[in-house]
Amino acid sequence: MSESLSRPAPAVEAALEGGDTSAPRSQLGDAWHDLRHSALFWVSAVIIGAVLAIAAFPNAFADAAKTSALTGGCDFADFLQSPSEAHWFGTDQLGCDIYSFTIFGARPSIAVGLIAALLTTVLGTVVGVISGYYGGIVDSLLSRLVDIFFGLPLLLGGIVILSALTFPSIWGVVFVLVILGWVSAARLVRGTTIEAKNQDFVLAARALGATNSRIMWRHVLPNAVGPSIVVAVISLGGYIGAEATFSYLGLGLKDPDFSWGTMIAAAQSSFFQAPWTLLFPAGFLTVTVLAVILMGEAVRDGLDPKSRA
């Protein structure tokens, strides 16, 4: 053996002290570089930022007291008033201020979407990585399980579950969306995992003696999870819409909880007399879902330049 490795060369010392001066870029860094120049990204980012701010700090935008008849927020004398200076979005059949309800209705809508998107992605990714990595009998069993859940239609399955069981506040809708939604993430990640695990760098890690769990979580997962993050963002929009659907059907949030979905449901009897009762919550819902989906597409283009048309 020679001494070559036991003497720190001057270049090594300098490098450890000085570090790399030119900016190294990760793949996320590259994605960001592309996204910065995307108008689509900025428009959706501004909308999503505004909606998130409303959901996080509704008190900064409206008065919580105005969202409950108990605290004097609604005045029957003011029912179905058109938008005015006192009531920017008008009032509903009970004389409640639609602006305040829309602002405070954002949080449950957004919360359901975010929690459901997070849980479906985590559950689907874990199942997909294990299924794709181990293959064989594990994969066969998990894939059949995924097939079973894939066969359940979201709306029908959701109606059945929510009619049969009762959950507190938003958790019923979250439960349904996670139970019926994780399979698409699992399928996607299973495919990308199989692709990643056959790459040479997995072979190299195995030759070093890396354990299965190390290979799975350090090498395969980071290379397999990209597409499922994009799908998570796009499905977030779908989940916000699904929450509104279930609430509209009377199966989502129950009084005294409310969301954009329950407001749309309440507006159906007064829509022709007072269209603003429907237009404002439905408008917020549509713009939010649209912004989220556009964001998902912008992120996909950024992460994978090949998918660009």
Binding site: M1, A11, V12, A15, D200, G209
Partner: protein
């Protein structure tokens, strides 16, 4: 010249001993009820020895089983039968924990520098990973970062690029990263699986020089897998020519290139381009007819007889064993006969 040292290692002094290595892959049919319908015989009875500090090259065309041998050596695949003895220890007898420890002695450099590095990891994580798996291999008194920077410096990479990602490097630089990773555990043996065949010719020479420097500095032994005789002759002390999972001819690099005895070796060497254009134009090339037979259905007798220009009746009936043709130089042929000067004489480069 490949080497001035004694070319043939004493069997007792070998750091790597391979005996009757066999690897069969089952061919399965059916979706639910899988049934074995055949076997692919990828490696069929390969034996060789490697002495410390020496380089043995495995040469052959695609599908001859040379890469499978490499993977069997580093324990990426389990042999169907036969033994791999690394520094006196048979890998098959080891517990998983002991095998993990033994991996420090034998490492691999993979062919494709574009797929063999994890694109999501920085160079320092890639070269540092061996130290995470084998903390004992970290040199005394060094942090992981220092050890990685020293390795980078040793393989000719600027240590300032510690936190860069693989895609920010060229092919040659990426292969140096792969070499640093294989070197990190200070192995005694490195299996180099076509380490330069994915690189530009101009870069190949630099990487080959690095590999030779490292061999001399660290006393490494190489199993050098390649399809390219002109690359192999730069580095190899011994050459084993493989055909369809078997060794056709094995001998010191000088002898084997100067006086090939097996018709397959002769055909292989006659395909090596010669530097002198006049000699290149006028020389006789041995062209083999037909395609490589399927390893799922290898020919009986000598596996080469279907393409051999010397084939007789006995070749289809009886498998030739490796027999000495000149001292330690052995060939598996019923009609061995030396041919001279096929690849521009015995002198390398």
């Amino acid at each position: 010249m490949a080497s001035t040292e004694p070319s043939r290692a004493e069997s007792s002094g070998s750091i790597l001993r391979v005996r009757d290595l066999v690897k069969n892959y089952p061919i399965m049919r059916g979706v639910v009820f899988k049934k074995q319908v055949g076997t692919v015989s990828a490696v069929d009875g390969v034996s060789f020895d490697l002495a410390p500090g020496q380089t043995l090259a495995l040469v052959g065309e695609s599908g001859c089983g040379k890469s499978t041998v490499g993977r069997l050596l580093v324990g990426l695949e389990r042999p169907t039968s036969g033994s791999v003895v690394v520094d006196g220890v048979d890998l098959a007898t080891l517990s998983p924990k002991q095998l993990l420890e033994k991996r420090r002695d034998i490492q691999i450099i993979l062919q494709d520098p574009y797929t063999s590095l994890d694109p999501r990891m920085t160079v320092s994580s890639i070269i540092g990973e061996p130290f995470e798996i084998h903390p004992k291999s970290l040199p005394q008194g060094r942090t992981k970062r220092q050890a990685v920077a020293e390795l980078m410096d040793r393989v000719g990479l600027n240590p300032e690029f510690l936190s860069r990602y693989p895609h920010q490097f060229s092919g040659g630089q990426r292969q140096r990263i792969g070499i640093a990773r294989a070197l990190a555990l200070r192995p005694k043996i490195i299996v180099a699986d076509e380490p330069v065949s994915a690189l530009d010719v101009s870069i190949q020479a630099q990487v080959m020089n690095l590999l030779m420097d490292l061999r001399d500095d660290f006393g490494l032994s190489y199993v050098f897998i390649s399809h390219d005789v002109s690359v192999v002759r730069q580095i190899a002390d011994e050459i084993a020519v493989m055909y369809l999972g078997r060794v056709a001819e094995l001998g010191s690099a000088d002898q084997l290139i100067a006086r090939p005895n097996h018709p397959y070796t002769q055909a292989l060497l006659s395909a090596v381009p010669l530097p002198d254009p006049i000699v290149q134009r006028t020389r006789e090339r041995i062209t083999l007819g037909g395609d490589l037979p399927s390893p799922a259905d290898p020919p009986a007798g000598c596996r080469f007889h279907t393409r051999c220009f010397k084939a007789q009746a006995i070749c289809a009936a009886e498998q030739p064993v490796l027999r000495p043709v000149d001292g330690a130089h052995v060939a598996a042929c019923h009609f061995p006969e030396p041919m001279y000067d096929l690849a521009g004489g015995g002198s390398a480069r």
